[in-house]
């Protein structure tokens, strides 16, 4: 899970793994690790989720956390357009560290429709640039299972060593 601070990475993981949501904000220090077994197209997959501390600028310390990852979810706060700004460079550096692994973009906080800051053009551009883009809400759970499920299936299909 990669993204700027306070985009909802931890909340997405907690929703997915424990079916809970809290409005309370705790900034992650380093990496929090959770596990969940999912069914990906009939195959059980044990996902080990690394919820990585958000940073405004992608730094080398984060690439050390990424090494060995089988897939990436980039998290954008849909109510803060500025959290999109680092996405391209994050993607470049992340793939530099882990290779061309499956990746998706979660446009999070979709429940906050009145505060949504992304334009349809921006969302279309993301859709063209990334293999999978989905609106998610850790608060309501919308899109969360689908996001992780897609990634698990994509990782299974990815060639070994990708």
């Amino acid at each position: 899970m990669v993204g700027a601070p306070a985009t909802g990475k931890t909340s997405l993981v907690q929703r997915f793994v424990k079916s809970i949501f809290s409005e309370r904000y705790h900034s992650t220090v380093g990496v929090r690790i959770e596990r969940k077994e999912v069914d990906a197209d009939g195959t059980p997959v044990n996902l080990v989720l690394w919820d990585i501390e958000g940073q405004e600028r992608f730094q080398s310390v984060q690439t050390s956390y990424l090494r060995g990852a089988g897939g990436l979810i980039f998290v954008v706060d849909g109510t803060r357009g500025e959290t999109l700004e680092q996405l391209a460079s994050m993607r470049e550096q992340a793939h530099g560290a882990v290779g061309d692994v499956p990746c998706a973009v979660a446009l999070n906080k979709a429940d906050l429709a009145a505060s949504w800051a992304l334009t349809p053009e921006q969302e279309r551009a993301l859709g063209a640039a990334f293999p999978h883009v989905l609106k998610t809400s850790a608060k309501t759970g919308a899109g969360v299972e689908a996001m992780f499920g897609w990634l698990a299936a994509a990782m299974l299909k990815a060639p070994a060593g990708a």
Binding site: R24, H26, V29, I33, V61, G68
Partner: protein
């Protein structure tokens, strides 16, 4: 899916001296100290001096990468049960981790995820041992918190159950690595209670997860240390009486680990010493 390769991070290739020290005090109100702590360094036992074989060169390299095991545990249960629980937890965990770290040092295998699983397994084994030795406890039986940190420079793994804490002190700022597993914290998370209400509530002392208790929910994480960082592990005998600001100031003095431990314990005693207090400080040289 492919397992993760061994960690490689900034500073990974250079050794950094770790100055670590632990201290425990019964406090002013309790008759018995039910806390336990452990500060240990871990090394491979075989020493290779010269060889033509690459595999042994790898082992020799790994010998230089000593790991440190830091543990605090705060037993609860009375009549010696708390002390027995914390002792059993630390003993079981330490022997399990010592073996797991030896596996981790073997760089022929991709073992980081396996090592993380072993950390969790060590906590679970400790939990089972307490329950077997001291009986299946109800909510008030012998039980213990457990906060474990393994420093395999620069990567630092932590696993945690209960309300003892681990902190990272970096660039003058103190950040809590662990989250207290208490009823009050859960109620704040659920929006039922404010943080201010939680600090005044008796529920802040009621654990939702404890070794030997009815349920354990180990939380797991990692962080890469940098030169000049310090780690603090402590039981709640410290944090009941010493504010984050004071802890920050004490760590910010830049003294050795032993001196910092003594200052923190003195601060807890000066603040009331209502509970056993245990602290471990580990400083990475600048």
């Amino acid at each position: 899916m492919e397992p993760r390769p061994p960690a490689s991070a900034p500073d990974a290739g250079s050794r950094v001296r770790i100055d670590a020290f632990g201290l425990s005090d019964v406090g002013k109100m309790r008759k018995e100290n039910e806390d336990q702590f452990l500060v240990a360094s871990l090394h491979k036992s075989m020493q290779v001096h010269h060889t033509s074989l690459d595999v042994f060169t790898a082992i020799a390299d790994s010998q230089q990468a000593g790991a440190y095991l830091l543990v605090v545990a705060d037993g609860v249960g009375g009549l010696g049960g708390g002390r027995s629980a914390s002792s059993a937890a630390v003993e079981a965990l330490a022997s399990h981790i010592a073996n797991a770290v030896r596996v981790y040092f073997n760089r022929d295998t991709d073992v980081e995820d396996a090592f993380l699983a072993e950390l969790e397994r060590g906590v679970d084994l400790s939990h089972q041992q307490i329950r077997e030795k001291l009986g299946q406890s109800a909510s008030r039986g012998p039980a213990t918190t457990l906060t474990v940190v393994v420093v395999a420079w620069p990567r630092t793994y932590f696993v945690h159950v209960g309300d003892s804490r681990a902190y990272l002190f970096r660039n003058g700022a103190l950040r809590q690595l662990t989250r207290d597993q208490t009823v009050a914290e859960e109620l704040v998370d659920q929006g039922v209670m404010t943080e201010e209400q939680a600090t005044r509530s008796g529920l802040k002392n009621v654990l939702t997860s404890a070794l030997g208790g009815s349920e354990i929910k180990p939380s797991l994480g990692l962080v890469d240390l940098a030169r000049g960082d310090a780690l603090l592990l402590c039981t709640d005998g410290l944090t009941k009486h010493v504010t984050d600001q004071t802890i920050t100031a004490e760590l910010g003095r830049g003294e050795g680990a032993e001196a910092t431990c003594r200052r923190l314990v003195d601060d807890a005693l000066a603040g009331g010493g209502s509970d056993n207090v245990s602290v471990i400080v580990a400083r990475a040289a600048s």
